[in-house]
Amino acid sequence: MTKHGEGDSTFESRKFTDWATVKEALIGERIDAVFILAPMAMQLRIDGVGVKVVYLGHRDGTAIVVGKDSDIRDFADLEGKRCAIPSRYANQNLLMHKMMKEWGMAPDSIDLIELPPPEHPTALENGSIDAYIVGEPFAALSELNGTGRVLYQTKDIWEDFISCVLVVREDVIDDDREIVQELVDGIAKSGKWLDDGLQNRMEAAEIAAANYYFQDPELLRYVLSKPVDRVKYTQLAPLKDDFDEIMELGYEIGVLPKRIAFEEYVDDSFVKPLSEIDWNMEHLAGADVEAAKLAVEAIRKEAGESQ
């Protein structure tokens, strides 16, 4: 649970493991908002669920990874190979099809397999796949383990790549705009803080490792710094051109059953210039960094003791 902001608002994060449960939770009003894949948000709206995309989670932060000693040197070398994708609704799936089209390859020339992201590095290592495309930190994991090599960072093949978007229930938007605005402002400000400097990114790695993902802080530090623009946390406004492109690609490859207008599933009225956001950055930036470091130490100690 994360309590922040100048007011008394509380934002509680809740982890889900599958798409169907997220949909049920939104329909059953057990959650107010969720970070999900962009094509999933479109599908939700097509299915008649009253939600809108209000902001992005990040840009870039995805890579195509191949084995360290693999002879795959460019995208054409992936022809006939097995490549893992996180979900058919993932923008990563759309990117693979976009690339196949751009490289003049048939849509079925790469064997795309749906696999949960945490399993991608292991599958690559044991040879059951030849490559994978996934969001961080699972791309960096193979690099750090010395088993994988990044073939492409998405920032180099689809500029300002969108993966996760923030979706909010429409009734919450209608009834409680203030708290939605507070959430969006918080994401915007913390994103700016992250992109402001390496030191901030290192602090964020400690906080996230201890409080949210229980990942190795070293892995998160690597993701946030090698290179520093591997994942971007600014320019998070949902833009029509970006979403139209995703919608078109999704429809073209049959992931989405029909096209819907941008205005039907996006509400960009919460996007404000950073200078206009009245939000106490110090509250977040300094938030529990020391406590997070202590928590990381405790986790390490516990892990050490249990071995």
Partner: protein
């Protein structure tokens, strides 16, 4: 005798209602609903995430 039956029935009703609220509605949802009925500003948001990218 009648009084003890009445008290027992009320306690039972209270227990069943509390269990229903806890198991089927959830304290948070109940609290939010009461807030909405009273016209108070929402002070909590539950934000899910699906770590599949």
């Amino acid at each position: 005798m009648k009084r003890s039956i009445l008290i027992s029935a009320m306690l039972w009703l209270l227990l069943i209602s509390a269990s229903h609220l806890y198991l089927n509605v959830g304290w948070d949802n109940f609290r939010e609903s009461v807030h909405q009925i009273l016209g108070k500003k929402r002070d909590k948001m539950i934000v899910g995430f699906l770590p599949v990218t």
